[in-house]
């Protein structure tokens, strides 16, 4: 019941997934195992003239072309599916007997809603719109940063102040980390955790394009996300959500829950080098891995699989491979990037990929990195090219690195036989 430092062990008793490959965990996992791409042309808004016109889309019936769901609405729709699935798997009813900690993106007033306010405004200045908006609280409610997390806290009846964690592309991993720490401190027996992402709006895609972060390989969409390949040219945005029910082993055992896996350790290290680039020595990334291993009480050779951050940008994949060699030596464990199939789900990625690691441990199967027709051999890593692979292993590492230099790693273990 206690780990190597005498802290409560933290186990996973429920998982849920919503991805471009499926609206639940079984369909998402089947797609990943089949090496299928979820990337396709974006249809919910007009992409004319955009550098990147494809994504890992999770659309809903409410997505009218030109008038898609707002970010907050899509976060809620996907989050409910993933968290409902996790809760049902854990055999827990509402109200949830613990805290809420989710990786979430910032939301804002999007242009269709801004145009609605304009129709009620006396003029077109910001002042005119701000005055008009004072009488339109309902427009605000569906746009606020806090609305999704408030909604989830109310829906699941979680305790305490609900945490909306943001560390950019590491948010999902940071949320798991904060949940694990709260359980270890004995603050709560269990946490409803995970992450949601729905930033695929026109303005956010334009912003990422201006940062030269997105792939321009629009045709065919399925081949655009190609982490660790010679022709990788940027990431593909993806919608998605993951839910995890985390509990102290003691709590899970006492209520007779099925233990699906374990969070063995978490570690992080902030990079002080640059907003979008890793320190060239790789030490902030390798330091995060080493901190996670130390937290788990494991040596590097205990890790049998790495789910890479693997965004398919030239910079990330090079730095990540280099940093893994710093930790693991010349021969790293197999490293695959499931972003090759799902796109980069940003704030949800760390949580989605933690669930993927747990499923890989359960089935003793590694998901592939697809689109490996020209793997960059100079990186010197086994990327599990194109086809899922049987693999005997007992611990996995999930990497997440955020803009702003926030590097977070999670070490996961399977359920004990």
């Amino acid at each position: 019941m206690k780990d190597h430092r005498g802290r409560p062990r933290v186990v996973v008793t429920g998982m849920g997934l919503v991805t471009a490959l499926g609206r639940d965990l079984p369909s998402s996992w089947a797609g990943l195992m089949a090496g299928r791409s979820g990337i396709r042309p974006i249809t919910r808004f007009n992409t004319t003239g955009m550098r990147s016109r494809i994504g890992g889309c999770v659309d809903f019936p409410g997505d009218v072309p030109g008038r898609p769901l707002t970010m907050a609405q899509r976060l809620v729709a996907m989050g409910e599916l993933a968290l409902d699935e996790a809760l049902a798997m854990a055999g827990l009813a509402k109200p949830f007997p613990g805290r809420l900690s989710l990786g979430l993106p910032p939301t804002e007033l999007e242009w269709p809603a801004r145009a609605d306010i304009m129709r009620h405004a006396e003029g077109t200045t910001n002042r005119d719109l701000a005055i008009a908006s004072t009488g339109m609280p309902e427009v605000h409610r569906v746009q606020q940063v806090v609305e999704p997390v408030r909604h989830f806290a109310a829906r699941y009846g979680t305790r305490g102040f609900p945490q909306a964690v943001t560390t950019a592309c590491a948010s999902g991993a940071s949320a798991i980390q904060m949940a694990v720490e709260a359980i270890r401190r004995g603050e709560t027996d269990c946490v409803l955790s995970g992450g949601c992402e729905a930033s695929m709006t026109p303005e956010t895609m334009i912003r990422f394009s201006l940062l030269q972060a997105l792939s321009a390989r629009n045709d065919p969409p399925e081949t655009a996300s190609r982490p660790f390949s010679l022709t990788r040219d940027g990431f593909i945005m993806g919608d998605g959500a993951a839910g995890l029910v985390l509990e102290s082993m003691e709590h899970a055992t006492a209520r007779g829950a099925t233990i699906l896996g374990e969070i063995l350790g978490v570690g992080e290290r902030a990079d002080t080098f640059h907003r979008t680039r890793s320190s060239p020595d790789g030490l902030a990334i390798s330091g995060a891995v080493e901190n996670a291993l130390r937290d788990a009480g494991l040596s590097a050779h205990a890790i049998g699989y790495i789910n890479a951050h693997g965004t398919s940008t030239p910079e990330n994949d090079k730095m990540e491979a280099m940093a893994m060699h710093l930790v693991f030596g010349e021969t790293c464990p197999p490293i695959s990037s499931t972003k090759s199939m799902l796109g980069h789900t940003l704030s949800a990625a760390g949580a989605i990929e933690a669930v993927i690691c747990l499923l890989a441990l359960r089935d003793q199967m590694l998901p592939p990195t697809i689109n490996q027709t020209d793997t960059d051999m100079a990186l010197g890593v086994d990327v599990v090219p194109n086809i899922a692979r049987p693999h005997g292993f007992s611990a996995a590492l999930s990497n997440s690195f955020g803009f702003g230099g926030q590097n977070v790693c999670v070490v996961l273990g399977g359920a004990e036989a």
Partner: protein, 342 residues
């Protein structure tokens, strides 16, 4: 549980910078014109371009600059510049600043563009008009990122969103980690800019409009630019390095839940009377509480860290103990006790 000490404070508001500007509080500085009908408490000229390296300054928006400035003040106040490599960081921040000049230019034409071509026209305007680095200046977690880059803070880094309550939750998590022994030294706080039309638009329905009035008479909040950062430290760590201890932070409590239970949840956290309130409006008044928003306005995520930082300075100046309490304009209830170190 280990004792959690406040060993450094960085405080900036409409009243100015640091101790001298805030103990005692000077007369409120207000601006009723610039963002009328929304009164605000604006920042004085701070010369932030002189304290943040030029290359970094240009890549940040004002909320990041203000927070980074205050974080640096807290590190210096704690005499901890040599300890930043292992210092942990917890920040509370909201959505970042937009290019509201570009927004306004687009708004001037948007509805006149024929409906069938409007979407593509808008996207082209954004692609042509947005500064490439603006996105990074907008992301809430890039306040923490900027602090790491400018001040070399390289331990853990987490950012919480969620308006006023997020500032309290950030403080609670930081203190809990120190108390439990999983951190020795944590930099924690937030920074908010009031002089922003985009935030008026985002929060318009929650804002007070019309002439300024005291917090005890407000139903909407009056924004004030402010930043509060603190260095929290375990007592053992502070004593071992012979750091000056300003105050002890205890009992940071944060709750949230359905609207109908708010008053009961708040009453369970806050004192029956007195204390220092960072409440944004008259709801759930505590008799005899000092209303900090009267002096400096409300600062969303920054409000509670600012209140606790001010309490620490007052305790250092001889106050016996101060309960800081408040609630979010939409949700969240919170309190903490600041007292001298025995």
């Amino acid at each position: 549980m280990r004792r959690v000490c406040i060993t450094g404070v960085g405080l900036i508001s409409s009243l100015g910078v640091g101790r001298q500007a805030h103990v005692p509080l000077g007369p409120a500085q207000r601006d009723a014109q610039s963002f009328a009908p929304f009164p605000i408490h604006p920042l004085p000229a701070l010369g932030m371009e002189n304290v943040i390296p030029r290359r970094e300054y240009r890549q940040m928006e004002n909320f990041q600059r203000l927070g980074t400035y205050a974080a640096g003040l807290a590190i210096a106040d704690a005499d901890a510049a040599g300890l930043v490599a292992g210092m942990d960081l917890v920040v509370a921040a909201g959505g970042g600043e937009r290019d509201w000049g570009l927004d306004e230019a687009i708004q001037a034409e948007l509805l006149a563009i024929p409906a069938e071509g409007r979407e593509a026209w808008l996207h082209q305007k954004l692609a042509d008009g947005l500064r490439p680095t603006l996105f990074l200046a907008q992301l809430p977690n890039l306040l923490a990122g900027s602090i790491s880059i400018v001040h070399n803070v390289a331990g853990s880094s987490r950012t919480l969103m969620g308006e006023e309550g997020a500032g309290a939750e950030a403080l609670r998590v930081a203190a809990a980690r120190i108390a439990a022994g999983s951190a020795e030294m944590v930099l924690v706080g937030g920074g908010v800019i009031a002089e922003r039309w985009d935030v008026m638009l985002a929060f318009g329905a929650a804002l007070h409009h019309g002439p300024w009035c005291p917090t005890a008479e407000r139903d909407g909040l009056i924004m004030g630019s402010q930043a509060g950062f603190m260095v929290l430290e375990s007592e053992d760590h502070a004593r071992a390095r012979q750091a000056r201890i300003l105050a002890v932070l205890r009992d940071v409590r944060v709750d949230a839940g359905p609207e109908e239970g708010r008053a009961e949840r708040f009453a369970a956290l806050a004192p029956a009377s007195g204390g220092l309130s960072v409440a944004p409006m008259r709801a759930m008044a505590v008799p005899g509480a000092e209303m900090l928003a009267d002096a400096i306005g409300s600062g969303f995520e920054a409000s509670f860290p600012v209140g606790v930082a001010l309490a620490a300075l007052r305790v250092e100046a001889g106050a016996p103990h101060i309960v800081v309490h408040g609630f979010g304009h939409g949700y969240g209830e919170f309190s903490a006790l600041v007292e001298p170190c025995p």
